[in-house]
């Protein structure tokens, strides 16, 4: 299989490998980078994102931490005070709630309250998202909490190249970044891609990408639901509508321009994410667009999100409350036919 993949000198790699490479390359490049988390060293991480890292960089730079999310974040902050860049792994992004205060009050505000004296180059990353039967505490997309907490950048890639490129950019950014990795994409074969290294690989924070061009309706999303939007776009094309799919990739800061430029042509907007609806980022995009680009909207902007429920465990319930290509298609058709 490996040899098959190497045909014509290209090796396609998955989303997880992309993240792994980004972190390992940055550890190599930046002697002041440290990794902290639960089971990231000896075990190599619950999903293996940090596999082999401790062997290579030692126990001092790759720290197996006690189960203490608040301390992990706070200690990372202290290391930043002393010149370090820290990658913090949350074993599942759901556990970020246990380190919440240290993130929103200590870390996010450090630059602000010191009038720019202190920078906290920190990436807090972890497996996120539903659709895998992870239930309430292994399925969350809780990015809205952090988007509403000034001082944090928020990132969520949907492809291996973006995963690698945004991770490198995040690890070089002087600000704290909350990085949502979609665990259902970690080993997804269909989305594997060739990857660059180092500077070549970088995908700058704050730039959206157009995943599919179209003319009739703009579907805006990030993470797992980008793939559902692409599927919906297929469905829509069968119905005679051409959908543009925008993957915002970075939530904070948001590349509003790319969305508005698209709307100037399509005049129709559907925003999709898998977080709970109320105060979620889908609504944020609708709010911005309604205020900033009202004149380009020929139909009500719509959103397709998780219902305002936790993520339940068993499959039928889980799918019931989450977005799907069908639900997106339906929303887009309503907007197109408005």
């Amino acid at each position: 299989m490996a040899s098959l993949m190497q045909t014509d000198a290209t090796i396609k790699k998955n989303y997880l490998t992309a993240l792994k490479e980004a972190i390992a390359e940055e550890m190599d490049r930046n002697q002041h980078m440290i990794c902290m988390g639960e089971d990231i060293g000896l075990l190599g991480g619950a999903f293996g994102v940090t596999d082999g890292l401790q062997e290579k960089f030692g126990t001092e730079r790759v720290i197996d931490m006690p189960i203490s999310e608040a301390c992990i974040v706070g200690a990372a902050c202290g290391m930043a005070l002393n010149g370090k860049t820290v990658m913090v792994e949350m074993q599942f992004i759901d556990f970020i709630s246990c380190g919440f205060d240290q993130i929103v009050n200590m870390t996010a505000t450090y630059h602000y309250r010191t009038a720019g004296e202190v920078a906290v180059p920190m990436v807090i990353r972890g497996p996120a998202g539903a659709y895998g039967g992870g239930a309430l505490y292994h399925s969350q997309m809780n990015e809205a909490w952090f988007c509403n907490s000034p001082g944090l950048k928020v990132v969520c890639p949907s492809t291996p190249r973006d995963a690698k490129g945004l991770m490198i950019a995040a690890l070089r950014d002087p600000n704290p970044v909350i990085f949502y990795e979609i665990k259902e994409l970690y080993r997804k074969r269909e989305i594997e891609e060739e990857l660059e290294s180092g500077d070549e690989a970088i995908v700058p924070l704050g730039k959206a990408s157009i995943s599919r061009a179209g003319e009739d309706v703009t579907l805006v999303s990030y993470g797992q639901t980008v793939w559902q939007c692409l599927e919906a776009a297929e469905n829509l094309s069968k119905e005679g509508y051409s959908a543009e799919v925008i993957d915002i990739r970075t939530l904070v800061p948001l590349d509003q321009e790319t969305i508005i430029n698209s709307l100037k042509r399509t005049n129709r907007l559907v925003v999709v994410n898998e977080a709970p609806m109320t105060c979620g980022f889908a609504g944020e995009i609708m709010a911005r667009i309604s205020q900033e680009a009202f004149e380009y909207l020929d139909a009500p902007p719509m959103r397709v999100t998780r219902m305002d429920t936790p993520v339940p465990w068993v499959k039928p319930l889980e799918l019931h409350v989450l977005p799907s290509a069908d639900k997106i298609t339906e929303a887009a058709l309503r907007v197109c036919k408005f």
């Binding site: 639960e38 000896l42 006690p66 203490s68 505490y137 339940p312 068993v314 319930l317």
Partner: protein
């Protein structure tokens, strides 16, 4: 003679000495039940009849059985991922099949494992995240140590209501590093609440060894920071666990407040079954060999033989001990144990999966 005399008083006063021969038999049966539950789930998964991650309690059964055995039916418990058998063993002395007992039925527990509508939580959250106010089992989230505050609250309220129940929370040793562990035990100590914190020290928190979790070898020492008793039990010896936990329970029931009971035990497999292969790499083989050798079923049998409660021949009859899940057979377990579990599994397989619409239900209680 002198040594014997010296040992007598403490031995005499051990809680186990009040147990009857039937109690010993029942304890052993519960060890089989716990073991067989684990083994059976692994077999079901291998057969393709079960999905999801299994967190094995294999070889940790004595902690569960010994902790629960002496509780009153109105006492509360809060088990976690590695204590699955605790859900149906609570109040099991009142009869496994007794529907009136204050614990969960095997149907409910299997209903949960299989994600069926018969789960006490209608399978809305997974694995060990069930509970019941009727059964007096606190529902945990995934966040480790997260139920200890609730446990303290439960008994605070009970005391106010005129009750004197105690609560047992189960925790892996790694979980004791969580801030909320400290906050809750501090609160319980201040108010002398009957909160007993069981620490199942199996030396590993997922892939992290105890040296990286805590600066002392005995997690019972965490108690010293609160001025409360910190007891250590041989977690492979159900009688020793029973003694130590009952000592803590009596202390609590008498109004003297919380205790910590560390049970030294051993995790037979990986963190979850997805981790079995990797565990073989990060965990020294020697440690595994030594750990596996101390099987709680074997230890209990030896104690019973020694106490004259079992013949050596009888002890050989159900030879579940010292066997991995793949080596052990149904015939290594008492027939009623196998039958009990089989009923649970059968009922779960027949039970309906909740309907999709339930996903949107019960976000709020509507009878405001």
């Amino acid at each position: 003679m002198a040594t014997t005399t010296e040992r007598q008083p403490s031995e005499k006063s051990r809680p186990r000495d009040l147990l009857s021969p039937q109690d010993y038999q029942e304890m052993l049966a519960q060890l089989y039940l716990a073991r067989y539950f684990d083994v059976r789930l692994i077999k079901e998964k291998k057969r393709g009849r079960l999905r999801g991650t299994l967190y094995s309690s294999h070889n940790q059964e004595a902690v569960i059985v010994g902790s629960l055995f002496g509780l009153r039916s109105d006492d509360w418990i809060s088990p976690i991922h590695r204590d699955m058998p605790a859900f149906f063993l609570k109040d099991a002395r009142a009869g496994w099949r007794n529907k009136e007992r204050i614990g969960m039925s095997i149907d409910e527990v299997c209903g949960q494992v299989w994600g069926r509508a018969t789960s006490p939580g209608r399978a809305r959250d997974n694995w060990s995240h069930i509970g019941s106010t009727r059964a007096k089992i606190i529902h945990s989230t995934s966040m480790l140590a997260g139920t200890i505050p609730a446990a303290a609250g439960v008994v605070y309220a009970d005391r106010l209501n005129g009750g004197n129940s105690v609560v047992l929370t189960f925790n892996g040793e790694g979980s004791t590093a969580q801030g909320v562990f400290h906050e809750a035990i501090n609160f319980a100590a201040v108010h002398k609440l009957p909160v007993i914190t069981i620490i199942e020290n199996n030396h590993w928190a997922y892939g992290t060894p105890t040296e990286l979790e805590y600066s002392l070898p005995d997690f019972a020492r965490r108690a010293d920071g609160y001025g409360i008793p910190g007891l250590i039990a041989d977690g492979q010896d159900v009688l020793d666990v029973y003694d130590k936990v009952m000592t803590a329970v009596e202390h609590a029931r008498a109004g003297h407040g919380p205790s910590i009971v560390e049970c030294k035990t051993f995790r037979a497999y990986g963190h979850g079954d997805h981790d079995d292969d990797r565990a073989a790499k990060y965990r020294p083989a020697k440690e595994v060999d030594e750990g596996r050798r101390r099987d709680p079923i074997a230890i209990m049998k030896a104690n019973m033989v020694k106490a004259g409660l079992m013949t050596k021949a009888d002890a050989k009859k159900y030879a579940a001990e010292n066997k991995g899940a793949s080596e052990v057979h149904d015939t290594d377990f008492p027939e009623d144990v196998v039958a009990y579990l089989t009923e649970g599994v059968t009922s779960a397989l027949k039970a309906p999966v909740p309907s999709a619409e339930e996903g949107a239900m019960w976000v709020f209680r509507e009878d405001a």
